[in-house]
């Protein structure tokens, strides 16, 4: 029997839903608004919501003090680079585990996940020393390597669950139909796995983009991505809310726009396998 939903119930839940949504979104909105205020109005009591003198001054100042484009480029290189290398390593791994599992496949998967359970700070010192000795400190290459390793378990897990959904019989049918391994991958497997690969890629770009622990600790000036760029505004001269807000808005804008355009893929990726 279908559950009957009264109009009042619907209205209550709609209002509640919007309220929670706005509550979660509010800090981002406030940051955005503050970025257009002067330092004075930013800290004024009572706070001014929309009716203040809008100014772009903060953006000018942020741009003149630090090279925004350089940080964006670093963020893009690091997040996209680590994700692509991660995919190249994870696709064959997930493939093997999904289509020719052994007794230990489950254990290997658990082991990979378990590496995410250790607090990253536990390996900070050894990793820092290795980076120092190998000359990888403050290089994009070093960060790409670290972020690839950090996100690899998640990439493998996501792809594994995706590949598991592809029935093995379809691959066998392709084999019977005369497809070589290469043709099987190009004509049958990849087209069927593209949604999964795409959402894995998007999610990992976002994870890498937002990663702050390693990017802050292993970079100085050259390879600093946007996370380090924002952090530089919280010190040392005390907090300048308006400028910090402008910097934050600039830092999250690219990933926000990307997320907006790919939200359909993302939601599918995140909820995949939940309902079958």
């Amino acid at each position: 029997m279908a559950r009957t939903v009264t109009t009042r119930r619907k209205l209550t839940f709609t209002i509640l839903g919007w309220a929670i949504g706005l509550l979660i979104f509010f800090p981002i909105l406030w940051t955005f608004l503050t970025s257009f205020k002067t330092e004075g109005t930013a800290v004024a009591t009572p706070p001014q919501f929309l009716f203040f003198d809008w100014t772009l001054e903060n953006y000018h100042e942020v741009q003149s003090r630090s090279d925004y484009m350089k940080h964006v480029t670093n963020s893009v290189v690091i997040s996209v680079g680590s994700t692509l290398i991660g995919l190249a390593l994870a696709i064959p791994a997930a493939w093997a585990m999904a289509f020719s599992p052994t007794k230990r496949t489950k254990d290997v998967l658990m082991w990979m996940l378990s590496t995410k359970m250790m607090p990253p700070v536990g390996v900070l010192v050894p990793l820092y020393l290795i980076f120092r000795d190998w000359g990888l400190l403050d290089t994009r290459l070093g960060l790409v390597a670290v972020l690839t390793m950090i996100n690899l378990p998640i990439i493998v897990w996501m792809l594994y669950t995706y590949f598991k959904e592809i029935p093995g019989e379809i691959l066998e049918a392709a084999r019977m139909d005369g497809a070589s391994l290469m043709k099987e991958i190009v004509y049958v497997l990849t087209p069927m796995a593209v949604p999964g690969i795409a959402s894995t890629m998007l999610l990992n770009i976002i994870l890498a983009w937002n990663e702050a622990f390693w990017t802050l600790n292993l970079t100085a000036a050259n390879a600093a991505p946007l996370t380090a760029f924002i952090a530089s505004y919280s010190s040392p001269e005390g907090l300048f809310w308006a400028k910090l807000s402008a910097a934050s808005t600039m830092a999250i804008a690219p990933i926000l726009i990307m997320g907006w355009f790919s939200q359909k893929q993302l939601v599918r990726g995140l909820t995949f396998g939940a309902v079958k």
């Binding site: 019989e169 379809i170 066998e172 049918a173 392709a174 084999r175 019977m176 139909d177 043709k183 087209p191």
Partner: protein, 332 residues
């Protein structure tokens, strides 16, 4: 040509033997059905012939050539899977054309062959659709279309009808038999349904626990089952198997008599019993009778015969149609 010979073919997973050594001869153009209960190894055997499963021992010879270690595509066989295994991202046309494309044939030749196959299978109006937009029966036909365009030496069917409803299954059974008469290509068909086996096969291979119990034409298996397993498996409703005193009277450990070979009467007969459940099929009636000192006996009689639950009746097995089995279950 499409003759297939299995020589001492065996399969084991680790230390568990799934199929002990099997020898089997399949002639060109024959319709062979592998039948047996779930887990008897029939699908594994088919997959070994297809090349999707490695052999643990023995040889598979197709048209006189040892194909034991050839890749599936090199064996010249086509397979129709239980789940149809259609490519969901391709149209019906794309699905049927796929094997030809893999074979590197040119576009106009592919086009002609796909259209011919679609014609045979009544799929002409659906060529642009995706598999997701088709019914179960249509998907099954696409899977068959994909198999026939290659003009294989033999078709392998792995329980192709088990996902269809009963009415459609009956239709598809006819269509596949019809296709066999048209193409005259060797077909190997795996099923757990003895009705499919009886109605379609030229030759039935009854498998149990990886072993071949008997090979023969449907009527051979029906008339002279070699052992208790085949006797019980072939025929519907199942053959009545009687043990004990009644069997001993006939110098056997187990006595078998088919429901259609037991006469029922309200007045006289060899065995006295009480009527249990009665199943009316219209044309036939199945009556389950509890016979004193013998056990439960199923009787098949004509549709007009009527009895009541608990009524007393008399049964007489036809003496010439009795099957006798020894202590090892082998026919005497």
């Amino acid at each position: 040509m499409g003759s297939i010979t299995l020589e001492k073919v065996s399969k084991s997973f680790g230390t568990t033997s799934v199929i002990p050594e099997i020898d089997l001869e399949i002639d060109d153009g024959e319709f062979v059905v592998f039948v047996g209960p779930s887990g008897c190894g029939k699908s594994t055997l088919l997959r070994m012939i297809a090349g999707l499963e490695d052999l643990s021992g023995g040889r598979i010879i197709i048209d006189g050539k040892d194909m034991s270690s050839e890749a599936p595509a090199k064996r010249g066989l086509s397979m129709v899977f239980q789940s149809y295994a259609l490519y969901p991202h391709m149209s019906v046309y794309g699905n049927i054309a796929f094997p030809l494309k893999m074979d590197g044939q040119d576009k106009s030749a592919i086009d002609k062959k796909v259209k011919d196959a679609a014609n045979i299978l009544n799929l002409t109006n659906y060529l642009d659709r995706r598999p997701g937009q088709l019914s179960g029966g249509q998907r099954q036909r696409v899977a068959i279309g994909r198999a026939i365009v290659r003009q294989p030496k033999a078709f392998l069917f792995d329980e192709p009808l088990s996902n269809l409803d009963a009415a459609l299954r009956g239709n598809m059974r006819l269509e596949i038999s019809d296709l066999h008469h048209q193409l005259k290509t060797t077909m190997i068909y795996v099923t757990h349904d003895q009705v499919e086996a009886m109605t379609m096969a030229d030759k039935i291979v009854v498998l149990n626990a990886g072993r071949i119990e008997q090979v023969g034409s449907p009527l051979e298996l029906y008339r002279s089952p070699r052992n208790v397993f085949v006797a019980g498996f072939i025929g519907s409703p199942r053959m009545n198997l009687i043990e004990g005193q009644e069997a001993a009277k006939q110098n056997a450990t187990t006595l078998g008599v088919r429901p259609e070979h037991v006469r029922i009467s309200k007045t006289e007969g060899a065995w006295k019993g009480t009527v249990g459940v009665t199943e009316h099929l219209g044309s036939d009636t199945f009556i389950h009778v509890q016979v004193d000192g013998v056990g439960k006996i199923t009787v098949r009689t004509d549709g007009d015969f009527s009895t009541d639950f608990g009524q007393q009746v008399y049964l007489t097995p036809e003496a010439t149609r009795l099957h006798r089995f020894d202590a090892n279950g082998q026919a005497i």
